[in-house]
Each structure stands twice: as structure tokens, then as C-alpha cells.
Amino acid sequence: MAEDLVLDRAIRDWVLIPLSVVMVLIGFLRYFVSKLMRSYQTPDRKVVKEGQVVLRARNLRVAAGFIPTKSFWSRRVYFTNEENGLLHVPKEQAQNPQAQMFSDPNMAMDMMKKNISMIVPQTLTFTWVNFFFSGFVAAKIPFPLTHRFRGMLQNGIDLSTVDVSYVSGRSWYFLNLFGLRGLFSLILGEENATDDAQRMMQMGGFGFDPTKSLSAEKDSLDIIQHEWILPKMEKRAEDVLKKLLK
């Protein structure tokens, strides 16, 4: 049943290689276009300020052991004090960023632009592939799959006796789509516009962050048990020296 098909060499030259090359080039194009279109995005001053405050509070929390107890408490009061502490956010303000994010035209435009720059090239390439490269066997994948995948992988080929390993152009497109992500991350530096889920998460977390992280920082600052490590340092120095001298 699994006889070896002999496939025309021209298929290699005119289907596999051009399709891969086109997808790589489109990936580059998308990367550069998104880089160019990202230029006008001035961050909101308030958001930046809050981000910096959160950073300061976090540094205080992490390095709490290095300063004496009284100075830690005075710093903590500065941050978490009810009247004018930096981390204390009045309740009415907490709702704002959420509403702001959805009604802010800039944000919505940005999200739409990024969605479009992702979806349009994919749709166009898919249509092109379907138009040109359907109806014949394009490649053989080196591992066997069950018969249920036949409908998915062999969309143009209507013979049911052909081995499921012989796939059509559309499945070569999907294989490229997923496989080239790794290649892009190698060539183009950090993870770029080729990963949908990651970018959706990034976009979602932008506007909500300030208020939630402020109250989170405040809570974590409040529960710290401060312990100054200087008294212990002499003992530790003694231990280290003893170990060295052994």
C-alpha cells in the first residue's frame, strides 16, 4: 500500500523552495514594517511615573535587609501612608485606567494595527498558496500520521490510496508557518511580531497594570518583617574565613 511515489524534480524547485523563501521574506517585511510603524507611541507621563514608583518600592522590598530597621520603617511609611503615600490609590481612580484603555483612540488604533499587520499577510499568503499550489502532491513528511489527518493535509488530492505522508501545498504552508518562528527569533533578534498569543498578552496588560501593581506593592511592603543583616555579618565573615583557612 505504501509504494514510493516518484515526484517530479520541478516540484522541489517551484513549490517547496519558493514557498519557504516567500514566507521568510514576508516575515522580514512584517518585522521591518512593524518597527517603522511603532515610532509614534509617546508613553503617558502618569503611567511612567507610576511605573517608576513601583520600581522604587520593589527595590526597597528586595533590599530591605541592608538598611537599619528605623530607616526601613520611615521609607515604608513614605510609600504606604494613607494620606499622601505614593502607593495609596483612592478608590475612584482605580476604575479609570480600564475605561481609559478601551476608549482611548490611540490604544485601539495600535491594537488594530498590530492585529492587521499579523493577520493580513497570513491570509494573503494562504490564499496565494491555495490558488497556485493545490491539487497535487507537494512534499513527503518523514513520519506517518493516521488517516484522520488525511482531510487536513491532503486537501487537493482526491485519491484515497495515497499514503498520508504525501501532503499538499497547504500543509507545507502550515509547517513553514510554525517552523519558521524559531528561525526568525534567531535571525531577527528578540521575539518579534510572529507570535500572536504573546503579543495579545502584552497588549492586555498595558493599561491595567498601574493600579493593580500599586496595591500589590503596597500589600507586599506592609507584610515584610524587617531584619537587619549587619549584626550577622561578622559571624558570617568569621565562618567564611574559617573555611578558607582550613
Partner: protein, 117 residues
């Protein structure tokens, strides 16, 4: 303590009991592990295709390559994971399945070009 050659920089500070990790260095170490794994998946895929592995053998070969990569990375980190990473999982397990798709792509590509061409 900067590593020679690649971008490995020590993520830990000098005290041994306080587990402080320098976040930037940890991030850069993780990224370099990811790059090595992706590169190795692609090369492994081409090798598997040229050698004509089919079916399960190919996947076994992939996991073999990943295991050798983990061994190499652990050796480069001098087998003391706390100096460069925060847990063993980062060197051993992270990125193994991410590289699988690149491996399959280059495997199919090389196999087709060499054996069915």
C-alpha cells in the same frame, strides 16, 4: 564572573545564603539557552533528513540531540545551576518543545530535497 566566549554572566551575587539573582543576567542566560536549542533543532533536523530517518526514529533522534544539548549546557554552567540560573528546569527542560516545530520543518525539508528529489 563573566563566562568566556558566549554571553553567560553570573546571575548570583557574592553572598551564598541570600538567593539574590541579577534579573538581567538571568534573562540573558535564558535567552542564550533558547538560541542554542533553536539552532541545534534546525541543524538536527537537517541531519535527520539527510540520514533518512523516518517516523519514530526521527523523534528519538531529536530528543537525543536535546539531551546532548542539555548535557553540554550543564557542563558549560559547571554543573552548579545556582550560579547561572534559578532552577534546573531552565537548562534541562525549557525550550525542548519549542524547538520541535523547527526540527520537523527542517527535517521534512532536508528529507524531501535529498531523498525524493
Amino acid at each position: 564572573m563573566a563566562g568566556e566566549g558566549d554571553l553567560r554572566t553570573s546571575a548570583k551575587e557574592s553572598e551564598d545564603d541570600l538567593p539574590i539573582l541579577n534579573a538581567e543576567n538571568l534573562q540573558s542566560n535564558i535567552k542564550s539557552v533558547y538560541y542554542s536549542r533553536t539552532f541545534l533543532s534546525i541543524i538536527g533536523g537537517v541531519v535527520a533528513g539527510i540520514w533518512g530517518f523516518t517516523g519514530l526514529t526521527g523523534f528519538v533522534f531529536y530528543f537525543l540531540v536535546m539531551a546532548v544539548a542539555s548535557l553540554g549546557l550543564a557542563a558549560k554552567a559547571k554543573f552548579s545551576v545556582n550560579k547561572y540560573f534559578d532552577s534546573w528546569n531552565r537548562i534541562l527542560i525549557d525550550g525542548v518543545f519549542g524547538g520541535l516545530m523547527s526540527f520537523v520543518l527542517s527535517w521534512a525539508f532536508a528529507y524531501d530535497i535529498v531523498h525524493i528529489f
